[in-house]
Symmetry: C2
Subunit: 812 residues, 2 copies
Amino acid sequence: MMDNGGFCNDNYHSGSSDDELVDISDVTVNFSEDVPPLDRDYSAGGCKADWRPNNSPKLIDLMDDTVPGIGTYEDFNTIDWVREKSKDRDRHREITNKSKHSTVALLFSISDAFSGWLLMLLIGLMSGALAGGIDIAAHWMTDLKEGVCLNGFWFNHEHCCWASNETTFQERDKCPQWKSWAELMDGVSEQGRVNVLNHFMYVSWALLFAFLAVILVRAFAPYACGSGIPEIKTILSGFIIRGYLGKWTLIIKTITLVLAVSSGLSLGKEGPLVHVACCCANILCHFFTKYRRNEAKKREVLSAASAVGVSVAFGAPIGGVLFSLEEVSYYFPLKTLWRSFFAALVAAFTLRSINPFGNSRLVLFYVEFHTPWHLLELIPFVLLGIFGGLWGAFFIHANIAWCRLRKNTRLGHYPVIEVLVVTLLTALLAFPIEYTRMSSSELISELFNDCGLLDSSKLCDYTGNSGSTSGSVNATAANGLGARLAGPKLYTAMWQLALALVFKMFITVATFGMKVPSGLFIPSMAVGAIAGRLLGVGMEQLAVHNHERDIFRGWCSPGADCITPGLYAMVGAAACLGGVTRMTVSLVVIMFELTGGLEYIVPLMAAAMTSKWVADALSRESIYEAHIRLNGYPFLEAKEEFRHKTLATDVMRPRRSDPPLSVLTQSGMTVEEVERLIADTTYSGFPVVISQLSQRLVGFVLRRDLFISLENARRHQDGVVSVSAVLFTECESPASPGAPPAVKLRSILDLSPFTVTVHTPMEIVVDIFRKLGLRQCLVIQNGRLLGIITKKDILKHMAQMANRDPESILFN
Amino acid sequence: MMDNGGFCNDNYHSGSSDDELVDISDVTVNFSEDVPPLDRDYSAGGCKADWRPNNSPKLIDLMDDTVPGIGTYEDFNTIDWVREKSKDRDRHREITNKSKHSTVALLFSISDAFSGWLLMLLIGLMSGALAGGIDIAAHWMTDLKEGVCLNGFWFNHEHCCWASNETTFQERDKCPQWKSWAELMDGVSEQGRVNVLNHFMYVSWALLFAFLAVILVRAFAPYACGSGIPEIKTILSGFIIRGYLGKWTLIIKTITLVLAVSSGLSLGKEGPLVHVACCCANILCHFFTKYRRNEAKKREVLSAASAVGVSVAFGAPIGGVLFSLEEVSYYFPLKTLWRSFFAALVAAFTLRSINPFGNSRLVLFYVEFHTPWHLLELIPFVLLGIFGGLWGAFFIHANIAWCRLRKNTRLGHYPVIEVLVVTLLTALLAFPIEYTRMSSSELISELFNDCGLLDSSKLCDYTGNSGSTSGSVNATAANGLGARLAGPKLYTAMWQLALALVFKMFITVATFGMKVPSGLFIPSMAVGAIAGRLLGVGMEQLAVHNHERDIFRGWCSPGADCITPGLYAMVGAAACLGGVTRMTVSLVVIMFELTGGLEYIVPLMAAAMTSKWVADALSRESIYEAHIRLNGYPFLEAKEEFRHKTLATDVMRPRRSDPPLSVLTQSGMTVEEVERLIADTTYSGFPVVISQLSQRLVGFVLRRDLFISLENARRHQDGVVSVSAVLFTECESPASPGAPPAVKLRSILDLSPFTVTVHTPMEIVVDIFRKLGLRQCLVIQNGRLLGIITKKDILKHMAQMANRDPESILFN
């Protein structure tokens, strides 16, 4: 049923230790009751000539409370949004009705109404705390690769030197308490050996961390690998993947994320943080009946949790909500918007009170710029956009090709070795260059940084900087242009950055998709930030060397910083992230929340727009959609319009060459016949018609419900045998005296199945499926049932129209 | 057809001078063609036994190009979203197909793809420019009520004194060039007479402005009155109100908005700016075929335009987009989100380059706070939320009652007198108190302001301020607590603010809904800001007087400003605005964009949440929904879930006592019979069945299309007489030799009407209507057609379930 490469592990069904996405097993029912539960309501009612089904509202209660399993879903199946929402409305109605009668029920109804907010609060607190923990641990372990603090091994480099009295402001990260591994072992020694030893320790720690990460993932939670966003998108669209958001996944993903980030691999923690937040949400849902029992309600909570994940990853609550809305969520009612925002804020403030970076900011790379940008700078910004778009398209293409290779060749059988090889390569190549040695988020922070006067970074080595120490502001302004001439260290830095760019571009392709938690926000941003900084410094030097030219004269008045290379880095980061993920508004808003200035929105927007257009021109899919398709998930993209001219009749089954549609008749079939039909076919449901001759539609019954009900009737209803009649009618037909009792199944019959006609254009059918969240739809003409269209049929059809292999759609 | 009170004017159909919302009249067709256009495709095809309609994709082309009027809508009707979207997809498909064949077509296809962005750019530029003009003009005319500038009458007070050399920093608004009317006329005179004269001039100018505004609205553009947001919400949900967004409405609304704001009435320009932006969008749509010809596409543009309106009103592009998403829009695809954001940004930057307030900010009341807030302050913030909720509920109730009174009594017949009386009252009462005399946005700006050390405002009269001029920061800190003790002027200001609060609360109720453009964002915010500032100053004095108490000790360390009354004003403004409009995320984001600091989101959110809960507990509707209901628009609220247990059969027509459903048969009816059916009934469409006996559904035909086609056939098809057969079948039945030629109408038949079964719960039906934007839906049981449900039926049913008068729903 499932293909190997789909997830990062081959033993999908081994996840028995994980929590189920739905846990309905706590509904205990006394099976020893003699009265067959399904009959309870119908035996008394008698037969009504009226076609109005008075007892149909009872349907849900019955399904919910009586026969366990009815109304639930199998693993790797899609939920029926309409049914779930009906269930919730019924529940709500019942609570509201009861609350009118007693005070206790009223209190219960109020607590029920506020439970959503409480849940959001808890998700925010838990995710914020976890994110803070991950940040602190990853920071410490990253530094552990280089050395250790003598004051206490639990201090990271920065904290170690903070505590020291011998730290100067100029060299914040040098202090005697912090020892590199070589210093610790050799004392003082010749430089070459120190370097080799440090390099060796760096590689060893990296390998250890990566090995631990991949082993933990394989042993305890196969679902903990990757970024998780493609799967969460699919789950939010209504798919069931049991265990994907369970407690084991949460624990292992949290631990291995720290390990993977610390190992220095080219990956980020932003995507996995969304997964972590969703796991928190799913686990917390267990404490609230309202959400535990309803898949649709649970998905509302998960939508909010994705917003929380981005909120803590970037310190951008508004951006997080828009990310959830734009990128992840499928069904996003406005109530969820408000709640998501609340949860995102709570998480952001929890993280802030933990203060993992010691700067009372939520992220390492918060920036403030002071120089306005000039209109002409839009040209390099658009160039960065084009670079971002090209990089995005290249990355998606190369990464998908690589993943396909991993899936289809023997490479996929050795995930541990793959991780170790990539880590070894990364660590070996990364150590020599300062910019690849540091963690990606530190790199981004450094690249975004606007050079201050006292900055000691290589990137800020301008010849004027050390010369003009005259203190007076005017003096600095007078030889201001000199202050922006690049010094030798800056040239070195440029070369190193260019090497780092090439290195990051290729290693990221190989890293994303390995069997460790890996996000690609940070690597993409790093690539863009490097490219942007290079271009920014280039532009700056161009302006400095040509400041007499007409074009720069009005713009770069002597003494003023006219170009901010940090802004270029930021624009480049936005462009590359946009190219890979195809985010638009949320991307700009996240970046806006990082800078806080409305004036920098325009460059960001120009780059993001260009990047999206360029990338879309090359290939339509974002990396997440590409991975969804690679894994064959049944995801009906809401953004792309279906543009083909086909009609429902072209898509419905049975095709003309197929045997006729398997239907049940509302009366006249025996238990044995129905059971044989179930055994002979694999359809997930059967239409019920008045008679085989007229083919006039009565309703639709799900295979799972039918199977469970028949089993239940056989076991608990007296006298049911193979020749017993199965009745979907409301009124019992006068049975012959000696006949065995009939099994009455109207209660599991969906009397209002969705129908379209054969003439309905597929674009409308697709629209209906998307907007209402259907699983299947029946096709009729002039009142006669002709066929059925399932979500899988639609996805296969869409794949076919796009000249792809329709068999790549694996699930229903 | 329409009730008097619906709009602000009684001659609804007089708007012939206005542009139509849809202008399809430019589709010219040569009627002299001999071949009846509708037959073109079917005569050749022959009769197919196959039920697959090969020619049905042509349907749209035919409708679009051939018979004028088919596919358009009548005034005060709802559009069919499904059909409009299909039309657009067909158009797009055709362009894409053509673009493969020629370069010109390819260029056209590219220009078509980018026309949306161009349109957004133009809307942003135009709306931004108009908003800037309105701001400048309103500012000048508001000042004109008090005096005139001798340097040039076109300077407003502030500009007049800027130009002057004699202005000191302390008294920025005093300069000899600015003369009040009394100074100009009397020279120097006794104080009493000056006051009376100034008061008289103030009232006279106010009356003049208000009179001009109401006269212009009545004479040229009745639709220009009110805020416009309820109508825009309704239009965005698919309703057609011709002329509501036409060029006359735009011109008159722009002019009268300036007049109304300048007259000093308690109204704001924010809501009307949304209307102005939508008018711009609608007018600019005329230049783009893609948008002119498609009602659904046009509504996407209008959604973006609402974002633009809020963006220029508050200088909050992100808030504007969220406002459009949350409050106004009905159908908001993600593509629109990105485009809205673009348009909102363009508009904001256009407005900023106009710089109407001279502070390079987009709004008068941009604020920056410097003091963090304490957790305990959440208590007063929540209190403000409760106040906001109560005020919101009170305002909505009182305003609706007042509007109902106006509608049902003779009061509604004298709109000019009403405006003049309210203006007179406002001006007479407002002049004596400084805080009511100034414009509401200036008042808000003053109330939001954080008191600096040099502030000369009465609200900043703290006794310590003048005393501690020792200059040293430490000295100020030492007697810092003294610096926050209220001075006598502050006490006066408090009394005046309290009076202003009562005055604003009542006068706003009477003002909103008058026949002048009037927004209620600013008045609501003013009420909240006054209440907030009062509470803030109260809290501050409490803290100052009790700074030794335990509760304040850790919080208010001596010398530090521990409470910012300006923040309280802002929180109060958010609470009151939230109570009236029930905005949530967008409200908080707009306020966040005004302050720019993430730390103030929590107080705003606490107040907005409390306010919404309190207001919702008292009544569920926002002021916009209340006005929509008051006017009987067919608006299906997307936020409220339908929670009743009814089934489709309870809502469908015909009811049991009614005559049977009027249906057409697919063959066997004559032109005369069909025409009689059209004449005898008022239904907007008819189902087509196989035969009266079987009642098996074939399709659905719209009254308007049927009428136009029959008219067309009678006029242009040879030999069509009253006894000619009307055929909806694909194949011509073998007619008797001498019979007149049949009218074949399959092309106007909708072969894929939406159907539900009698058992479908209404909650699902409502969901389908909302999400797919249907106009009607057929009800079948076991393949037989039983009834029909229209949007109006649903709205009536919902009104009935909520114990309201179902006859209040006026339109379909």
